[in-house]
């Protein structure tokens, strides 16, 4: 079909060259054409010689017509536009085409050239042509892949996909590898109990014995397969959701925890033995009560009055029972202890203070009648005669009256400053801020004791002459009078530092109490006597002890409990202020002095003995010698390469020449300066100790990058000796914790929260890591450790 795409050929030119146009040749003569060279003869290419004329005659005529028609068409096509004319129906025919085709040539064969006629070569055919050329260019279809190769392709694709899927775990795995601690099983399971019904229903009696037992049971109509829950119960179970139940359980748990916490706290607080803590606690309680009372006073005077009455009641009770006087068994035992035990003394003081407080008469006053300065006097004069003004200033609530006097305080301060500046200073030194109220209490106590002492003095004068301090103290005190408050000066001097004396007073004051059994008296008397004796001993020992020893004693004293040290000089202040001002070292009177002196003497002996024993040893000289030796040894030695005889006279007794020696005696460069050259008491050796080296790490272990890191890790202690309990626990937690009896299941997406979501969707991997190789996890680096 090569002629298919060919344009209509001008017959005149190409006639001979177009084979297969036999019909034209054999047919009629060429039509004269009006347009020379364009007359066309279209004959079917496939007509071939075999189709030569069937009925030449009739065909000739028809052919003529047709050709005419064709000619017309050709001419019309020349005008450029093709017009398709409707064929006319010129004659009746049996065959009528509905497509406006005349049925002229109905009987004859179709000629391809005619069919091709409407196809315009330029426009529509080009695409077809292109396609045709393409088709021609294409080779034959390739053979399908061999089975192996196809499989291989599939495998590769599958492998890439699978490794991508598996790669999703990369992050999880790395996390687990690096984790400080892993607790297995990763997912803690809640144990579920299989309901009994299920167990029972699955079980059947099979053996004769079982059947027999079953029979017996049936006889007695024991419930076997009864539902274990009543319908109501099941309904309620269904009604209560798991969430709700959990919540409730959590609440209950929390409540229980809180309760137990408070219980524990209360127990703990109850157990605290610290006196101070209890004192502070009590104080805070009291303060709180006072505040409340104040509020009450303002808001509801009647209630306040009632409260005051209550207090009065308490006071009365106390006065009746005398519960807090030093009469009880406990108090007596304390009294014995108090001499040696500071705590006991304090306890006694406290108790007395309590007694005092309780027996104090509370002044009932209504707020509106209360001017600021008047009640002050009243109070001091009437209700609490023995309480010092300073104390009242510092601690107004001790008076049983809420408001505190500011003016009084000022005045008092002024007085203090004028009278004993240094005492004030010392007081300030000693004073701890939290102790203020405490001190005032103590002062109150002191006053009490003084008062009592005075009474006692009147009764028994003989006791006064015992201690120098007491005799000195007494003349000051009587001026104050038993009922009036003592002068500010005195208070200041007494200050906080009173307690030691007061303690002694406690012991004494007990004797002046009410009724005593004989035993009590005996006991106390014996104590008194002991004390006296001690004091006497001290007094006598004072003189013979040399000044140095005295100083020692003082130092020793200072080494003791802080409060004692603080209180000793204060006592002296009471005794004589001049002495304090002069700054002379004063003999401290303490019962342990003789013992100390003895020790002192013993110590001297000891030293003598030791010096005697090591008389020949001169350690310092030995050391310097040793050091010098070490220095010498460390110096680099000259290398002697001098050989006698070469180039010189030989023989016995000849020495190599100086020139030779100079040449062959090699002097090494001087050693760097020694590190211990400025340390006279130290020898530093930098030589490696092979005995120690056997115990040391010679190579830097793997995870460490520098030897400092490693040393640091070794230097940090782990044990509970050096760390707090919490830190110790943290430092020693094991890396992997497993619980015995728990099955550890393989990792699954549910165990890992972020994995679960990605696994659920399936399509999207969280990570795409496939192409990149993870860091070689396990390579070892080795370096020398120094």
């Amino acid at each position: 079909m090569r002629s298919f795409g060919r344009p209509p050929v001008p017959c005149g030119l190409r006639w001979p060259g177009t084979p297969g146009h036999g019909r034209c040749r054999s047919g009629l003569s060429l039509w004269p054409s009006s347009v020379p060279g364009i007359a066309l003869c279209r004959a079917p290419a496939w007509a071939g010689p075999g189709s030569v004329t069937v009925s030449a005659v009739c065909q000739g005529q028809e052919d003529g017509e047709r050709r005419h028609q064709q000619l017309l068409e050709a001419v019309s096509s020349l005008s450029g536009r093709r017009r398709r004319k409707l064929a006319e129906r010129t004659e009746a025919s049996t065959q009528v085409s509905e497509f406006n085709v005349s049925c002229k040539g109905a009987g004859e064969k179709l000629v391809l050239s005619e069919l091709l006629q409407p196809i315009r070569p330029k426009s529509a055919l080009s695409t077809v042509k292109k396609e045709l050329t393409k088709v021609k260019q294409k080779k034959a279809v390739e053979l399908p892949l061999s089975k192996e190769e196809a499989e291989r392709v599939v495998r590769e694709a599958a492998y890439v996909r699978t490794s991508k899927d598996v790669g999703r775990w990369q992050q999880v795995v790395l996390q687990n590898r690096r984790a400080e601690q892993l607790v297995f099983p990763l997912k803690q399971e809640i144990a579920t109990v299989v309901p009994l019904e299920q167990v029972v229903s699955a079980w059947k009696a099979r053996t004769p014995l079982e059947q027999e037992i079953f029979g017996l049971l049936h006889k007695t109509k024991q419930p076997i397969t009864d539902p274990l829950l009543t319908p109501e119960e099941t309904a309620s179970l269904q009604a209560m959701s798991l969430e709700e139940a959990r919540q409730r359980r959590a609440e209950l748990q929390k409540a229980r925890v809180v309760q137990s916490y408070y219980e524990a706290k209360a127990r703990r607080e109850k157990k605290i033995k610290s006196k101070k803590y209890h004192r502070v606690l009590k104080k805070s309680k009291r303060r709180k009560a006072l505040k409340e009372f104040e509020l009450l006073h303002k808001s509801d005077p009647e209630a306040a009055l009632a409260k005051l009455e209550e207090l009065e009641q308490l006071r009365m009770q106390e006065r009746m029972s005398l519960k807090h006087q030093n009469k009880g068994k406990w108090a007596r035992s304390r009294a014995i202890m108090a001499k040696y035990d500071l705590e006991a003394r304090k306890a006694m003081q406290e108790q007395l203070a309590r007694n005092k407080e309780l027996t104090q008469k509370v002044r009932v006053e209504l707020p509106e009648e209360e001017p600021s300065d008047v009640p002050e006097e009243d109070l001091t004069s009437e209700t609490v005669p023995t309480i010092p003004v300073g104390a009242s200033g510092a601690n107004p609530w001790m008076l049983g009256k809420p408001s505190g006097p500011a003016e009084e305080l000022k005045v008092q301060e002024g007085l203090e400053n004028v009278a004993v500046p240094d005492a004030v200073e010392s007081k300030e030194e000693m004073e701890k801020d939290d102790d203020e109220e405490d001190m005032s209490e103590e002062e109150a106590l002191l006053q009490d004791f003084m008062q009592k002492r005075q009474v006692r003095q009147q009764q028994a004068r003989s006791l006064e002459e015992q201690g120098a301090d007491e005799t000195e103290a007494v003349p000051e005190l009587p001026g104050d009078g038993p009922i009036h408050p003592i002068s500010a000066e005195d208070q200041a001097s007494v200050g906080i530092e009173q307690p030691p004396q007061a303690q002694e007073e406690i012991l004494l004051s007990e004797q002046l109490g009410r009724v005593q059994t004989m035993d009590d008296v005996d006991a106390l008397a014996s104590e008194e006597r002991v004390e006296e004796q001690e004091k006497l001993v001290v007094a006598t020992a004072e003189k013979p002890v040399p000044a140095r020893a005295e100083k020692r004693v003082q130092q020793q004293e200072e080494g003791r409990a802080g409060d004692k040290r603080a209180k000793k000089p204060a006592k002296k202040k009471i005794i004589s202020l001049e002495a304090v001002l002069a700054g002379k070292p004063q003999q401290v009177q303490c019962p342990s002095l003789p013992v100390v002196v003895e020790e002192e003497e013993g110590g001297i002996d000891q030293r003598g003995v030791i010096t005697e024993a090591f008389a020949g040893d001169d350690v310092v000289a030995d050391f310097t010698r040793e050091k010098r030796k070490a220095e010498e040894a460390a110096k680099p030695q000259p290398v002697n390469l001098v050989l006698p005889g070469w180039g010189e006279w030989g023989g016995t007794g000849l020495k190599p020449s100086a020139r030779k020696i100079k040449r062959f005696l090699l002097k090494p460069p001087p050693a760097p300066p020694r590190k211990d050259q400025h340390l006279p008491h130290v020898i530093m050796s930098e030589r490696r100790n092979i005995h120690a080296a056997a115990h040391q790490v010679s190579e830097l272990p793997f995870p460490f990058e520098r030897h400092q890191q490693f040393e640091q890790s070794i230097r940090t202690p782990v044990g509970a000796t050096w760390n707090t309990q919490r830190a110790f626990q943290k430092l020693t937690t094991p890396r992997i914790i497993t619980r015995s009896g728990h099955i550890i299941k393989p990792l699954s997406a549910e165990d890992v929260p972020d994995m679960a979501t990605t696994a659920g969707t399936g399509a999207k991997p969280a990570l795409e890591i496939v192409p990149q190789r993870p860091e070689p996890p396990l390579c070892r680096r080795r370096r020398r450790a120094r």
Binding site: R155, A158, G167, W169, H695, P746, L747, L778
Partner: protein, 425 residues
């Protein structure tokens, strides 16, 4: 509880390093003193123990199959055999429990796959398998899917079976040699690994029912085990005395070569924490390797234990079971010096502290010497020595060759790559 107030002033507690060193030394010594890992031996089989299986739900139950076709179920707490089944004619080649623990499968030399109930038969019932599948060829191994009712057998090819059918769902082949072991990945459960006699390890994907990749090693791999905590890691027990841990994404070289055995490694099982694994060897010993270390941290052996054929690490990470040629199953502690039973809090704290101390001072030569000392039977000891000499000779020879050949013509090949022949896509 008594709280003693303590003063942590470092001046009051001097010499912390020497003191802790001494404590560490003592702890290490005590660890060695108390290292008595052997707990008991379960005897009752009348032939060598060829395979074992763990119960997925019960820690105290263990199944074992022997070379005479007998299967025994053991109660570990009582250390007694609770049930005996004559399961096959000839060897029991492989066994595995169903993931739910209600039944288990065995394959044997009589070309059958049998499914058995885990519970012992009721009174008067016959001891019979639930299902029996008669195959055309011998099955050499079996493993069950971790979540679905699917299991895989291996022999001439890897077959994947639905439990309900008597013909395999699909058969996977790649090459024509007999496959000795097949294992499902416990995390990505569609993945399978198998090893065959033609020295290769093949991975399969069940979803696409296609093999993925094949690694050919120098020598035959006897079995492999997937890491239960790291989805892409598996360890292969090889004939060449070594174990190889692979990352399945990078099969060109193993992550780690674990060497210490002196004869073919026959079985391997991971600890459930995925941090260690235990291997059984023909050299009559079992060894425990950390996953990230090239050498073992522990070796267990007894005078009477012969070639160890199978080994399992129990699911609570506490014990190791090994079945050996001389018909016994042995129960070991996974941590040789661990005290069994309940520990008082103070005991626990002391134990933790000692552990930390040992870790802290592990690099000190004296402590390391004590911690690393193990007694070995003479045969193993001599073989180790011999192999060391051989290795040294080989190294020397290579060195000399390299010295006398053109520079660059003898490239250095790392130990990891040395054992890999090829990776086939």
């Amino acid at each position: 509880e008594l709280m003693i107030p303590r003063n942590y002033d470092p001046a009051l507690h001097p010499f912390e390093v020497p003191r802790e060193y001494t404590r560490a030394l003592n702890a290490t010594k005590l660890e060695r003193v108390f290292a008595k890992p052997f707990l008991s031996s379960l005897d009752g089989h009348r032939d060598g123990v060829n395979c074992m299986a763990k119960h997925p739900k019960s820690l105290s139950t263990v199944l074992s199959g022997a070379c005479d076709g007998e299967v025994k179920i053991w109660n570990l707490t009582k250390r007694q055999c609770v049930r005996t089944i004559q399961a096959h004619e000839g060897f029991v080649r492989g066994m595995c429990a169903r993931f739910c623990g209600t039944s288990f499968f065995t394959v044997g030399d009589d070309k059958t796959v049998k499914q058995w109930k885990m519970e012992s038969p009721e009174y008067g019932e016959e001891e019979e398998p639930i299902h029996t599948i008669l195959g055309k060829t011998v099955y050499t191994g079996i493993d069950h899917h971790w979540k679905e009712a699917v299991f895989a057998t291996c022999g001439h090819q890897v077959d994947i079976w639905d439990e309900q059918r008597t013909s395999p769902m699909c058969s996977l082949t790649w090459g024509f040699d007999s496959i000795s072991s097949v294992k499902f990945n416990p995390i990505e459960t569609y993945l399978l690994g198998s090893c065959a006699s033609d020295r290769n390890i093949v991975l399969y994907d069940m979803r696409k029912s296609t093999p993925l990749k094949k690694v050919i090693l120098n020598m035959r791999t006897n079995t492999l085990c997937w890491n239960p905590m790291e989805a892409f890691v598996f360890t292969a027990a090889n004939e060449d005395y070594n174990l190889y841990s692979f990352d399945m994404r990078f099969l060109e070289s193993p992550m780690m070569v674990h060497m210490d055995h002196v004869s073919a490694v026959l079985d391997v099982d991971y600890s459930p924490t995925g941090k260690e694994f235990v291997s059984a060897s023909f050299d009559k010993s079992i060894r425990i390797f950390p996953v990230d270390k090239g050498h073992s941290r522990e070796v267990y052996h007894t005078k009477r234990m012969q070639h160890v054929i199978t080994v399992k690490w129990t699911s609570d990470n506490k014990y190791i079971l090994c079945g050996s040629d001389e018909m016994n199953i042995r129960l070991w502690k996974a941590n040789a010096s661990e005290k069994l039973g309940v520990l008082a809090p103070r005991e626990k704290a002391a134990m933790n502290y000692n552990q930390k101390l040992k870790e802290k001072f592990q690099y000190h030569p004296k402590i390391r010497r004590i911690a690393q000392h193990r007694h070995l039977p003479k045969s193993i000891f001599c073989q180790i020595k011999e192999q060391r000499i051989m290795r040294e000779a080989r190294r020397r020879k290579e060195l000399n060759r390299r010295k006398h050949s053109k520079p660059g013509s003898m490239p250095f090949v790392s130990e990891r790559k040395k054992h890999i022949v090829a990776v086939v896509k």
